[in-house]
Structures are given as structure tokens and as C-alpha cells.
């Protein structure tokens, strides 16, 4: 009997401590967000110049740059409303997502909006569903999602849309009819083309090459791989290239390492590995460089992760690689969110708005869905890697 009373008392104190713990966590979480944000934005400001420089070079190719400057004036003043703008990343603990989130935050806060950034506990659509559900409860104005799965989020996003929340995607898309617009870092075919070209260049036009991808269900990875495959079939230029295997490293360093080593051993004539994933490319780069292999590497990678491995000589495994600026991608999503919420765009193809210092963008109809293209992938090579490795 006494024992039971005691256990209840203990349980009660436990509740109390949980309550206290949560209470304090909640209290500290709110103020903590602001100084953190301030700190984040300070260095971001410093690099803003560099960013815009990059954006400029990047945007140089985009044909619609000129047309947008006209619309810039009208869109700018409208983007000063309140509201809460949410970003759902792929998962916690990923620096690419962190950079993207900081860009998003910067853009929204500059316009006076409140930012909610949610990192799901794991890189699964299930975890994202919970997070989006919670955001619906909170009644946010818009949700920008980096989808972990093309279709799994359909139901929850439809529900959010029905609740009057503007939905957009960035980085990795979901089913087109569940979101208004997709902030695409670069067109799928554009990335496919760029990577194919790099493979062509590094192989010298002929020979064996392989792809090291992330997980088998990653939407954007699969889209890029498909784009590369169809390009090889359609363009006779690549006829002498032989894609020997698509290996999956599951975005785990250990498995990626195993897979890279297996590729090297299974295909002695391998010339190039293309890894369109930030984890995979870093793991593969380390394997190749440690083994002093003659196989060259390219793909998509974070400069900060890859600085060790980029170089023209034989001591470095990766001559050059590509990526877009995640901060800018976040910013673009941030501005797009604001524009959608304040009604300056509806998400229809042809809508034009100004994304702050990024300049003006137009919503395009690509492959039957509405997208905003950030710009072509940016090339990182020995000449610029030192400049970028500390940025993201």
C-alpha cells in the first residue's frame, strides 16, 4: 500500500518535472530563436555580396532576367505583411538544409514575417507528415516543403491547402497538384545535361562510368538519373559512354564507401563516378583520394564538404562538381511564400515577382507543372572552391 502511494507520488513528481522541463524548454525556445536568428543573419549579410555575385553569374544565362526588372518595383512594397511562414526540411542534422533554412529565414524576416522552421526527426515522409499536421494546427500562412517522397505527402498537403494554407515546395518536389509552385534549384533536364556533360568531359568521350546515388526513393535523385539516362539514349554524342551501374549509398557514409569500393573492384576500366548526392560524393571522394585511384569524380556536393577533394592534379579525386546555392534557394522559397500569401502571385504560369536581392522571377510551366527555376547549377572548381568552402 505504502509502496503504491509512493509510486504515485513519484509519478506525480515526474509529471511535474516533465511539465517544468517542457515549460522551460518552451520558454527558452522562443527567445533563443531570436538571438540565434540575429547571429545567423549577420554573417549571412556579409556573404550576401558574394551570393549576389554568384547569383548574377548564375542568372546571366536565364533569359527572363530582363523582363523581371520591370515587375520588381510593384512586387517589393507588397512583401511587407505579417503572417507565419513555415519551412519543412528533409530532416534535422543536415547542413544543406540548415543553409536553406537560414536563407528562408532571412528572406521572410526581412519582410517582417514570422518564421517557423521544422526539421523532421528522420528523413522519412512519415516524419514530415507529423510536422505538417502540427503546422496546420498552428494555422501558419504558408508551408514550404522539401519533400522526402513524391506522393506520401499528398493527403496532408491537400488538407493544408483546404485549410487555406499556401503550399510550395523547394529542392525536392512533391506531386504537382498538391502544391502551388515548386522552387526548383535548376531544371531536371538542365542538371542532367550538366552532369552528362561533365561525365563526357572527364571520360574523354568514351568508356565506363557509374552513378552513386542516395536512397532509392529520393525523388530528385531519381529524376536526375532518368534525365541522364534518356540523354544518353537520345544524343549520339554520348554513344560511347557506358553506364555500368547505379549504386545506392543510402546517404550513409559507410554504405557509400562500401559501394564505391565495390564499383572500383567490379569495374577495373571505370573512368568516372558521378554522385549527385552530397553524402555520397564526399564518401566517394575520400575513397578515391585515399586509394590514389585514377577514377575521377563529379556530381553534386557541398563545397564545405568537398573542399578537401577538389583539385586538378592526381592528388585530388574531384576535378570539379556542381551545386546551387542553398541559401539562395531558401531565400527564393521565402520570397515566393510571401508573394503567394500577400496575393501578388497566384502560382499560375507567367506570374512574375521580385525575390528581393535575387532579382525578379517568373513562374514557368515545365513538364506540365508550375516551377520557379533558381538558375543553372553552379560549377565549383579549384579556382573558386576556397572562396565558397566557408559559405556553405
Amino acid at each position: 500500500m505504502k509502496k503504491k502511494v509512493l509510486s504515485v507520488l513519484l509519478a506525480a513528481t515526474m509529471v511535474a518535472s516533465v511539465l517544468a522541463g517542457c515549460g522551460s524548454a518552451a520558454q527558452t525556445a522562443a527567445p533563443a530563436a531570436e538571438p540565434a536568428a540575429a547571429e545567423e543573419s549577420a554573417p549571412a549579410e556579409d556573404t550576401a555580396a558574394a551570393d549576389t555575385a554568384a547569383a548574377d553569374t548564375a542568372a546571366a544565362d536565364t533569359a527572363d532576367a530582363a523582363a523581371d526588372t520591370a515587375a520588381a518595383d510593384t512586387a517589393a512594397p507588397a512583401a511587407s505583411g505579417g503572417g507565419t511562414y513555415a519551412l519543412v526540411t528533409k530532416s534535422a542534422g543536415n547542413p544543406f538544409m540548415e543553409r536553406m533554412a537560414s536563407g528562408f529565414q532571412e528572406a521572410v524576416e526581412a519582410s517582417g514575417g514570422t518564421v517557423v522552421i521544422q526539421n523532421p526527426e528522420a528523413a522519412t515522409p512519415d516524419a514530415q507528415i507529423s510536422v505538417v499536421q502540427s503546422l496546420i494546427s498552428q494555422g501558419v500562412s504558408s508551408i514550404a516543403v522539401d519533400g522526402n517522397d513524391a506522393n506520401a505527402l499528398t493527403a496532408v498537403l491537400t488538407e493544408a491547402k483546404d485549410a487555406g494554407i499556401k503550399i510550395l515546395t523547394l529542392d525536392s518536389d512533391v506531386a504537382p497538384d498538391t502544391r502551388t509552385v515548386y522552387c526548383n534549384q535548376a531544371g531536371v533536364s538542365q542538371i542532367g545535361q550538366t552532369l552528362m556533360e561533365a561525365v563526357y568531359d572527364l571520360t574523354g568521350g568514351e568508356g565506363d562510368w557509374a552513378i552513386l546515388s542516395a536512397t532509392s526513393q529520393a525523388t530528385n535523385q531519381n529524376a536526375w538519373i532518368d534525365a541522364m539516362k534518356s540523354l544518353m539514349e537520345s544524343d549520339s554524342k554520348y554513344a560511347k559512354l557506358n553506364l555500368v551501374e547505379v549504386a545506392y549509398g543510402d546517404d550513409e557514409p559507410q554504405k557509400s564507401t562500401d559501394q564505391t569500393q565495390a564499383l572500383l573492384q567490379n569495374y577495373p576500366d571505370l573512368k568516372v563516378i558521378c554522385a549527385p548526392t552530397t553524402v555520397g560524393i564526399a564518401a566517394a571522394a575520400k575513397v578515391l583520394q585515399d586509394q590514389k585511384s585514377s577514377v575521377k569524380l563529379t556530381g553534386l556536393g557541398l563545397p564545405s564538404e568537398m573542399a578537401e577533394y577538389i583539385g586538378d592534379d592526381d592528388a585530388h579525386s574531384c576535378p570539379y562538381m556542381y551545386l546551387w546555392n542553398p541559401i539562395d534557394l531558401g531565400r527564393l522559397a521565402g520570397y515566393t511564400s510571401i508573394a503567394l500569401v500577400d496575393g501578388s502571385i497566384t502560382g499560375a504560369a507567367g506570374d512574375t515577382f521580385t525575390a528581393g536581392e535575387l532579382g525578379s522571377y517568373t513562374i514557368e510551366e515545365i513538364d506540365g507543372s508550375t516551377q520557379i527555376i533558381l538558375g543553372p547549377p553552379f560549377k565549383f572548381d579549384p579556382s573558386n572552391i576556397d572562396e565558397w568552402k566557408s559559405v556553405y
Binding site: 534535422a92 538544409m97 540548415e98 562500401d258 573492384q265 567490379n266 575520400k286 564538404e305 578537401e308 577533394y309
Partner: protein
């Protein structure tokens, strides 16, 4: 003395049957892809599975006491992330000190496990499940969504570079040390005694609680070291590193003949078990098994090996009974 039949020899010695499984595996894989048996490849099997090899030793100790620890990869991530961030933010770059710090973090994590399990009388799987969530969460929290990347850990990662002797030396030292401790020291035998018969251990004056605490502390130490090694070998630290790999470690031990009910298992067996796990994960991509089939085959092999062991044990026991004269 009667001569033992081959069957008796095999069932009598778990290690012997493992060697045969291993030999069969190697021959099959070697025939399909001869380059598998190259020196480089064999070397890489050890390098890529250093963490499994290392942590399996701790798991051996834990399982000998009839316990289990599923928090190890969370401890690994917490320790690894900690020392990764120390380098990222330029707090410390001394390889030796980083190893010490990582190991210490592991020791603290393991000690907490041991304390709660021994003194609080909590089932090992539950206690370590709680810490599995806690340390993994802490790894994420301290990372603040950052990784320590190749650039951050530049000098440090030379230790675990492909071709560098560091990880092999650690493995060899650890295995020799454990081989000696588990067989030739009083401490090692106490671990066996506690798992073999807890009540008898108490009666014969063995301090059961302190044995349990030290066993989990050792496990923590090895998990911490594995965290440091992981950062060094893969030249990066992410909060989700080695997620779910604790099951590989447990599987390695079980295949190696370590009994989950305690008291039975050897360092040699553990080594062979870990080697089988390592060979499977290394060999599957190399024998042209399509990517999607690899997990299925890995699971089937693991299950088949443990079931095979049960079946041979049963057959041998039955034959022994039939041989008994009446």
C-alpha cells in the same frame, strides 16, 4: 580416449563451424569475383567494419552477462559528433586528445547504463532503449544541423585514411587485449561467471553490481572510441551516423556464438562473427547481386547461420543420446 568424429568436433567447437561457414563464403565469393580475395579488398573489409569489430567486443561482454545494449550507435554518434564539432569550431585539433575525449564521453554514457541496470534493476533492453533516444537526440541537438566535414577534420582524418595503419592497430590491440582479459584475467572470468549463474556468483562473493557497471562502461568506452574512429575513417561527423547499426553488432555476436542468455561466447567467435557480417556486406555488391536484393540476402544468411547452428546442435545431442548404452 576415443577419437572424436568430425561432426563432434564441429558441434563441440562453435569457432570451428564458423571457420567452415567463412571458408564456404570466401570460396563462393572468390569464384564469382576473384578480385574479392585481393589484399586490398581484405584490408578494406576490416577498415570498413572497424566499428562493428570494435563494438562487438563490448557487446560480447554485455551479452556474456545476459544483457544487451542497443544504445551503442547513439553513444557513438554523440561522441563522434562532439569531437567533430570540437574540430569544426577549432576548439581542439590534437588527435590523441580527441580520442581521449571521445572515449571519456563513451565511458560516461556506458556508466549511466550500467548504473541504472545494476542498481535500478532495470531490464537492459529498456534502459538502453531510453538512452538510444537520448544520446541520438543529444547528437542532433549539439550538431545544431551542422556536420563536421572533410575540411574540418582534415589532419585528424589522416589517422583513419584508407591505407593508414591507425584503425588496424586499434583493432589488433583491442582484440589481443580482450582475448587476454577475457581468458586470462580474473576480471574477464567474472564477467563469464555473472552471466553463467548470477546466484552462484553472488554466493561465491563476486560483486555482481560492479561487474555489470564495468561491463556497460566498457561497452560505452568502445562505442565512444568507435565514434571517434568513425569521424576519422569517413572524414565527417553527422548526427545520424551509424543509425541502426547496433543490430549488425548484435548479429555479429550471435553469429559468433555468443549466447543471449549469458555465460557463453568467446573473443575468437566474436571476431569470426563480425568478419562474416563484414564479408557479407562487402561481398554482396561485388558478386553482382542487384542492389535491391542485398538486404534480403543478408537477412537470409544471418537467419540461416543461427538456425543451422541450432539444427546441428540438436542432431549432435540426439546422436549422443542414441549412443548412450542402457
Amino acid at each position: 580416449m576415443k577419437k572424436k568424429s568430425i561432426g563432434q568436433f564441429l558441434s563441440g567447437s562453435r569457432e570451428a563451424s564458423l571457420v567452415i561457414v567463412l571458408a564456404v563464403l570466401l570460396i563462393v565469393v572468390g569464384i564469382i569475383n576473384p578480385s574479392f580475395l585481393s589484399f586490398t579488398n581484405i584490408r578494406q573489409i576490416f577498415l570498413n567494419n572497424t566499428l562493428t569489430f570494435l563494438m562487438a567486443l563490448g557487446m560480447l561482454c554485455v551479452m556474456l552477462t545476459a544483457g544487451i545494449d542497443i544504445s551503442i550507435t547513439s553513444t557513438l554518434a554523440f561522441a563522434g559528433m562532439s569531437i567533430g564539432l570540437m574540430q569544426k569550431y577549432n576548439i581542439l585539433h590534437n588527435t590523441f586528445l580527441l580520442f581521449i575525449i571521445g572515449a571519456l564521453i563513451g565511458v560516461v554514457c556506458g556508466f549511466l547504463n550500467g548504473l541504472i541496470i545494476a542498481k535500478g534493476n532495470v531490464a537492459p533492453i529498456i534502459c538502453t532503449m531510453g538512452f538510444m533516444y537520448i544520446w541520438r537526440g543529444m547528437a542532433y541537438v549539439i550538431s545544431n544541423n551542422n556536420w563536421a566535414s572533410g575540411m574540418d577534420v582534415a589532419g585528424f582524418s589522416d589517422f583513419g585514411k584508407d591505407g593508414a595503419p591507425g584503425p588496424y592497430i586499434i583493432l589488433i590491440v583491442a582484440y589481443v587485449l580482450f582475448f587476454v582479459i577475457m581468458k586470462w584475467t580474473r576480471f574477464g572470468r567474472r564477467i563469464y561467471a555473472v552471466g553463467s549463474n548470477l546466484e552462484a556468483a553472488k554466493v561465491s562473493g563476486i560483486n555482481v553490481d560492479s561487474t555489470l557497471i564495468s561491463v556497460y562502461t566498457i561497452m560505452g568506452l568502445l562505442a565512444g572510441l568507435a565514434g571517434v574512429l568513425s569521424v576519422s575513417i569517413y572524414a565527417s561527423a553527422q548526427p545520424n551516423m551509424q543509425y541502426g547499426k547496433e543490430m549488425d553488432v548484435i548479429a555479429a555476436c550471435v553469429i559468433g556464438g555468443v549466447s543471449m542468455s549469458g555465460g557463453r561466447g568467446s573473443v575468437t567467435g566474436t571476431f569470426l562473427g563480425a568478419l562474416i557480417i563484414g564479408i557479407i556486406s562487402k561481398a554482396l555488391p561485388m558478386v553482382n547481386i542487384p542492389n535491391f536484393w542485398q538486404n534480403l540476402i543478408k537477412g537470409v544468411i544471418i537467419l540461416a547461420v543461427v538456425i543451422l547452428n541450432v539444427v546441428t546442435q540438436r542432431t549432435m545431442e540426439r546422436q549422443n543420446l542414441l549412443r548412450r548404452e542402457m
